[in-house]
Each structure stands twice: as C-alpha cells, then as structure tokens.
Symmetry: C2
C-alpha cells in the first residue's frame, strides 16, 4: 500500500473501519478467500460504491473483476487500525457497567488487555472479576506508571469522573474512554472518547419520529 495515503482520512471513514474489520474477520473464520465489493457491501448493508470509496483511502486492495483478497484486506485494515500491537487498559469504577466491560469477551480478542480494575468502595475492593482483583483507587497513579497503561476506562458516577480523568492524565495515560454522562476536559495530547449512551436513545427517538411512529 502507498505510504502516507491514510494521513487525511475523514473520521467518518475511520469509524466505519471496525465494521469492515468485523465482517472480514467472520469471512476469514469461514475460510472465504475472495469477495467482490458488491457481495461484501450487501452483507454489510451499505452500497458498493461507498465501500470502494472508503477502502480507496488506504490504497488499492481490490482488482477489477477479481474482488478483494479477504485475508489480505483483513490484515491491512487491522494494521491501519493499529491492532497489530497490544494495549493495556484499566477500568475505574467497578459497578455494574465496569463489571460488564471487564467481562466483555471481544476486547482481549482484539488486543485490548485489561490489567486492573479500581474502585473506592471497600465492599468491592478485593473481589475478583475474572483475572482481576478490584483494587483501591489510592494506588491508581502508581499502577498506571508501573504497568504502562495506555487506555483508561471511566465508569464512575458523573460527579467523580473529572477527578479520575485528571489523575489518569497526571500519571501519563494516553487515552480515556469515558462512560460517565459528562463531557470531560483533558489536554489535547490525550485521546478522549466520551460514550454518551443516552445520545443513542435520542437518535432512536428521532428515527421513530421520522418514520411517523409518533401518532
């Protein structure tokens, strides 16, 4: 592939790559070797022209009349997404959501390794979640530094989220995935993804209205 071609890829295209990666992964498992852009697009519920346009951002993967080599395309998208290396994660907040994420099966499979889970609640500290014993947040900064944690997941209540983010940033974390319903502030060099679950419901209500379900 052409070096440097991916420099100015729009974020909307990047956001679609994980979906390509998932579908191609299933095809790899089913030992499909080649697929036409039309067939892949149909599977994914998008148009073949969008698929071709998206993948053209990253170089030439397909051949006219031949289709894509599934395994090559899968590997290449994985490389583009940075999945050839492992990332170390922690979760701060071991309530239901933190526990659900700690047990989510698809993270480790993609190279996202959970190294620790933290909480302030003495009733939770010491409990085991799969391979992780819940630790006291007192040791958060030291743990991040000692274990070279890349990604911090925040699942604490809204009121505590900014303080947890500040502590993660001070300890040198590189990215934060925040589930608390508040827009956190972090320095520019730290990647921040705010997960606003209620926003998705508002998208659903918009679409219900559009479809005339409003009565």
């Amino acid at each position: 592939m052409r070096e440097g071609k991916e420099e100015h890829v729009p974020m909307v295209v990047i956001r679609r790559l994980p979906k390509y990666y998932r579908y191609l992964g299933e095809l790899v498992e089913r030992k499909v070797e080649r697929i036409s852009s039309q067939t892949l697009a149909d599977m994914m519920g998008i148009s073949a022209s969008q698929l071709r346009q998206d993948l053209n951002h990253f170089g030439e993967f397909g051949q006219q009349g031949y289709g894509y080599r599934v395994e090559d395309l899968y590997q290449e998208i994985g490389r583009i997404l940075g999945l050839e290396k492992e990332y170390n994660m922690i979760i701060v907040g071991a309530g239901n959501l933190g526990q659900a994420l700690a047990n989510y099966p698809n993270f480790a499979k993609r190279g996202f390794v959970l190294k620790g889970v933290f909480d302030v609640n003495p009733k939770l500290i010491g409990l085991k979640l799969r391979d992780n014993e819940i630790m006291d947040t007192d040791g958060l900064e030291d743990f991040i530094r000692a274990n070279k944690i890349d990604i911090g997941i925040i699942t604490v209540p809204k009121e505590a989220a900014q303080e947890v983010a500040d502590r993660m940033v001070r300890a040198g974390i590189k990215a934060i995935w925040n589930f608390a319903p508040v827009d956190l502030k972090v320095p520019k060099e730290v990647i921040l993804v705010n997960e606003h679950l209620a926003d998705r419901l508002m998208e659903i209500s918009f679409r219900l209205k559009e479809l005339g379900y409003e009565e």
Copy 2:
C-alpha cells in the same frame, strides 16, 4: 421553523444533535438566556461555522449579532429529536450490562421509561432492579403488546441475541438497541442500532497509532 426543512438532514448532523441538546440543557439549568454561536461552539469544542451549518438544517434559530435564545433552541432541538413524547422500553438480559442500563440515570430524564427487565436465569427472575422486577422471558411477547413497548434493549449473550430480536419484532416492537456483539437482522421497518463497544476501542487504537504512540 420552516415545515419540512428537516427531511433530508444527513445522519452525521442528527448524531450531533443530542450533544447540542445536552449542552443547551446545562445552559438552561444555569439560567443562561442567550448565547452566541461562537461561545456555544467553543464550549462544545467544535467550530462556529459547523454549529451554524448544522442548525441551519432546521430553520433559523439565531439572529445576527444577537445569538441564540437558549431555551427556544433547547426546546426546538428536543422537538426535532422527538423528545416531547415518552417512549416505553424493555431490557432483555439482566446481567451486568442490563443492570447497568436499568440503573442509568439519564434515560428517564429524557423520556425513555423502562417498563420491564427480562432474563432466562431463574436466579435472577423475581429480583428487583429499582422499580422493575426481573421477569421470565416466557412472557416477553405478551408484555410488549400489553404495554405498548417502543424500544427493546438487548443485552443477552451473542448466541441468543437474534432469537430475542425475532421475538421482539413479532410482538411489534418499533426499535431495537442491541449490545450483543453481533449484527442483527431485522425487517426494514424496525429501527436497529447495534452498539459495538469493541469498535470504539479500535477507533482509540487508530488514534493512538496516528499520534505516534505505537511503540
């Protein structure tokens, strides 16, 4: 506002409306009456021209040199998002994620009312989650019909998700929000939002790579 103007609004714009709605809601709570597009855009970390472009899809909200009326804009975006009515929801799958969503504080505030939680596990059936007693999935279809459920949230394991979706569809549900890591198939008239949490981590790993954090 001009009727019918919102017909062809791009989905990327719709996806940003909940964020506008959240920020405006905070301003309403703080009793701010007016705000310039520049100030609001700065708060939200976007450009003023994007903000103006987005809101222009829905009519004329602001006045040159005067700014937006916060309360009016907040109400209007709520209306566009279909938030003036209430929606009835159920959750199927009362594990950690289902319980976390059942306890998520911001859903009811926006008019999304949880009417029931279902599971197949006899150890969970009968337990109380806030106001909801966990019910046996045997009664799922009857419950959906009797309670005019609009939105079904699926938090069961991957293997069970399609069957749950099929049952919801047969009982006449209008929208499905799926957290199982599998792309469900539903009829065109049913709104489907698949929440692939691992996709967000892949977006983070892409951005880590882009920032040169790779080794």
